[in-house]
Amino acid sequence: MKINDMTVQKLPENTWSLCPVCLRKIRAERVHLGQKIILRKNCPEHGMYETTIWSGFQDMSEWIGTKEKPFEGVPPCPESCGLCGDHLRSTCCIIYNVTNRCNLNCSFCLAGDTIEHETSLEEICKSFFSFIEKGKTLLQLSGGEPTLRDDLPQIVQAAREAGARYVQLNSNGIRLGEDPAFVRSLAEAGLSFVFMQFDGTNDDIYNSIRGKKLLKIKQQAIENCAVCNIGVTLVPTLVRGINIGDIGNILRFAIAQSPKVRGVHFQPATYTGRIPSTPTASDRFTLDELIHEIQHQTEGTICADHLLPSACDHPLCGFHGDFIVNNNQIVSLLNRKNTNTASCCNDDASGKNREFVGRRWERPDPNKYESSCCSNNLSDMESFLKAARINGFTITAMAFQDAGNIDLARLRQCSLHVYDNGRTVPFCAYYLTAWKN
């Protein structure tokens, strides 16, 4: 990228990053370039690298607010990951990869191309007891594609027996759609909810990103989970040129599927693991652009003020919105104008975040609420409470980091951790891969 120095203004914050080629720790700056903000860094060996981190649809300084702690000296990240004494967040969600086998071969895959390996059920059960905190842990079973393991229900059951508060499954949904008996056994084992890869509302999108038509099987997966009262949150990977224009359709589809679908969790494509190519500056799809597209493509039904910066992770890592679906209409519970966000980072941010997502993504016991009274008038306190329990809906996003845009100020605030052989590693440090020069 060519820089016109006349347009460049330094932001107050400097930060630390890594060289995308050799992963050497280097200083980085966030600088204005016209409307955009870029991360600029210079490796003594591999030279200058810049990438867009903010598109200028909102004020980034206001978005971050006071939620970033300045560095004192050189940060120990990422070589000290698992968590070290300088890490700022405890674990909100912990990921456990039960397999690296997969039944897809996607153009984007965080797990990348690795040698097939599977930990035995016995070893998994043993390790669960070493890190699961009774009544607290939100465990995400991931992979690879976890449903390729026939003993997945036993793994879920073992996590419950070890005391996990929530057991979440990350899945592409293929087996969930094809095998309702398997879904039933997962529900009986105590599965709490599913994060299901869902990139769009037409098969051209799946052909482009996943290499095959998948829409129908994903719709069946939602139905099969619904029968077993397992909440499904849709997880689109957003790739410029492929599915950015489908954001509004994804939201409308999800809202129409409430309460079976509990929300949409957007993930702008990250360039780590297996990727089609390293990104150009224009490939980057930033959080503020995502918010802009949500507002634009829903014609303002969901607006920027409904979506708040992450209070648990770094504000540049994600946002969340909390809604109720009432008569196929979406009603926001949060508004940035009414919300005091200054206190969010204090005591137990990870715990608060865990309870928030658990409350929304898990479907309540139908015997407890479905038969109770009430109208659709959300001004009636009883109706509101019933709707909030049954028809809660979240719109969330997480922007993972790669060798190009990694920012150590963000990394040390990460609350999404991966369990690996006794270590607990921040997500983006765990999956980080260097780029070819």
């Binding site: 209070a311 648990c312 919300t339 309870e355 928030f356 001004s379 009636d380 409470l385 909030a388």
Partner: protein
Amino acid sequence: MAEETTKLICCKCNKELEMIKTDFSYLGHTFFTELPRCPGCGNVYISEELVKSRISEVEMQLEDK
């Protein structure tokens, strides 16, 4: 106000409270529910049980995480 087994009496006005639809607001949202209110001074009685259960849940649902 003093609570009796079957009725509530306003301790200021000595009048029996009546169940009346009452509005309350929190973080930009307004709700109504029926609460005992004094027909004289207009004060409402909110029981500890109601505060600890449904009103607390309304607050939790509306507050940011």
